[in-house]
């Protein structure tokens, strides 16, 4: 299906931060995988909320309290519809971020349903957010962790999946790698998982902002993602889960807002999703996230994906053309199972130094292990410099990136 191209020049004007200069050069923001930039609409919506509407939610009958509650609950529905949730009002839990969403599942569903000797199946390319909570739980409960390996092209090696799936109760898998850009075949993995009686938790932090996602076809039982990675504000994340799973999960954090009744010696928890939202929620952030969803939906996630796919192909080709074998790009070659995340190594220049030189050109890339140390070890590197694309990225951004890499080579070669 062909989509109409994005008018990137016009879209760039939506982002106030893109007007910035750094070291007297226009900013070239290539770190959306770490955190996205926010369009004016999101910033204004949050400011407007604070200027005209703010009140605590679910707790008052006066006019602004009703309005705030309505905005918050409406945000829940908007976010749920964005990912195709069958019953958004019941299935969307607002958290702090993807990491908290995953910890929520670990502390509630997993604690209730897993016992000593059970297995959890993860992958070698997971972000620490989808490894550490399971390591912590494994030690506590006596679980075994297994990992789907990553092959030489940065894809998951599924040849042994059925064997790995024995005794597995939960599969944790990233929809798109924040290091390699690999878009994983979730439906295929979920098919094997469900046949074996396991549930599937998907880390959607990288995919949800950059491609259309529909939970009715994805195969996930749980989907976690972050507001700030999809041009919403920081401080809000999402957990979607199938309704029957949520209904059976005990509370996560305890406090106000998640109870029906509290006595001195006992309490009755509220039904989901409120059961998992203790205390005053990130209300303004929900408004911001809802606005971000509208912003992305108005453009169209299929068009955004097409733009980033084209630009990734362009970038990979240009990097190869200008830098050749001096520049190693990790992850699959250009193609449909690859997102706009490119980790690279340039000669033997350390990622820090690459990023420092690129900073002088106004280019923002991320050096380090990207919270994926097991993957770094598998790749045989300590750190990479990662460039990641967004709907406002263009070919000129890639050219400046290349200019900076060439200069880094000259300085450290």
């Amino acid at each position: 299906m062909t989509t109409t191209p994005l008018n990137v020049e016009a879209l760039r004007k939506d982002f106030p931060l893109l007007a910035r200069t750094v070291h007297d050069r226009p900013i070239v923001y290539l770190d959306s995988a770490s955190s996205a930039l926010q369009p004016r609409a999101v910033i204004d919506a949050m400011a407007r909320y604070y200027e005209t509407t703010h009140a605590n939610v679910h707790r008052g009958v006066y006019a602004t309290a009703e309005e705030a509650t309505h905005l918050y609950e409406q945000a829940r529905v908007v976010v749920g519809r964005f990912i195709g949730a069958p019953a958004p009002a019941d299935e969307i839990v607002f958290t702090k971020n993807t990491t908290e969403s995953i910890n929520l599942v670990a502390h509630t569903w997993a604690r209730t349903n897993l016992k000593a000797g059970d297995h959890i199946l993860l992958t070698e390319m997971e972000h620490h957010a989808n490894i550490v909570p399971w390591l912590m739980l494994a030690e506590d409960v006596g679980l075994e962790l297994r990992y789907i390996p990553v092959d030489g092209e940065g894809r998951l090696d599924l040849s042994d999946l059925a064997t790995l799936m024995a005794r597995v109760k939960l599969v944790g898998v990233s929809a798109m790698s924040n290091v390699l850009g690999t878009i994983n075949p979730i439906a295929e993995i979920a098919g094997v998982a469900h046949s074996a009686g396991a549930v599937v938790l998907v880390d959607g932090a990288q995919l949800v902002p950059h491609a259309p996602v529909d939970v009715t076809t994805l195969g996930a039982d749980f989907l976690a993602f972050s507001g700030h990675k999809m041009m919403g504000p920081t401080g809000i994340g999402v957990l979607w889960a199938r309704r029957e799973l949520l209904n059976a999960m005990p509370p996560f954090l305890g406090g106000g807002g998640m109870i029906l009744d509290v006595k001195l010696d006992s309490f009755r928890p509220a039904p989901p999703p409120g059961r998992f939202e203790a205390g005053t929620p990130p209300i303004a952030e929900a408004v911001g996230l809802s606005t971000a969803v509208d912003y992305l939906s108005d453009i169209g996630l299929d068009r955004i994906r097409a733009h980033e796919l084209d630009l990734t192909n362009y970038a990979l080709a240009r990097l190869d053309e200008k830098l050749g074998s001096d520049c190693r790009i990790f992850g699959p070659p250009a193609g449909a199972d690859r997102g706009g995340v490119m980790s690279l190594a340039y000669r033997d220049v350390h990622a820090h130094d690459l990023a420092q030189v690129l900073d002088q050109f106004g280019v923002c890339v991320r050096p380090g292990h990207h919270c994926a140390k097991p993957l770094m070890r598998k790749l045989g590197v300590q750190a990479t410099a990662r460039a990641s694309l967004s709907l406002f990225s263009d070919e000129h951004d890639i050219e400046v990136l290349i200019e900076g890499l060439v200069e880094a080579g000259r300085l450290f070669g």
Partner: protein, 160 residues
Amino acid sequence: MGDFDDLYREIILDHYRSPRNRGELESPPAHRVEGFNPLCGDEVVLSLLVEDGKLSDLKIGGSGCSISQSSASLMSSAVKGKSLEEVHQLIHTFKTMMSIHEAHLGKDGENEEPDVIDLDKLGELAALQGVVKFPVRIKCATLSWVALAQGLDEVAAEAS
């Protein structure tokens, strides 16, 4: 590019390209200590040989960015063969240059006036001054020095 050139002065690039005192010492009698910069993957492994109140020999291992590795190399040149008292003084002076707060704390934990750094005493180490303009990189520069201080503390504890 003024600040940037301050960060990557020739001396730093020289020590990065040709690091001094690379390798390992047999341990024991040398003492081995590791330092990690978990945010980014820099790591340093020091072998320290302390004899008669002197740091008679040391070797540097590990890998990382140009700042962490050149700082380790510069450090090794500066402290090798010096008395422990001189080494501790250099550590203190270097940390002060990097504007690390604890260098300003006196014995009682009270803030003292910041020392006037005698740059002549620092010699080549003064080349790392530019790092303070890039605060995120300070941890890279101090990694080996923190490991050195820790290693010397461990040696002293074992001796007592």
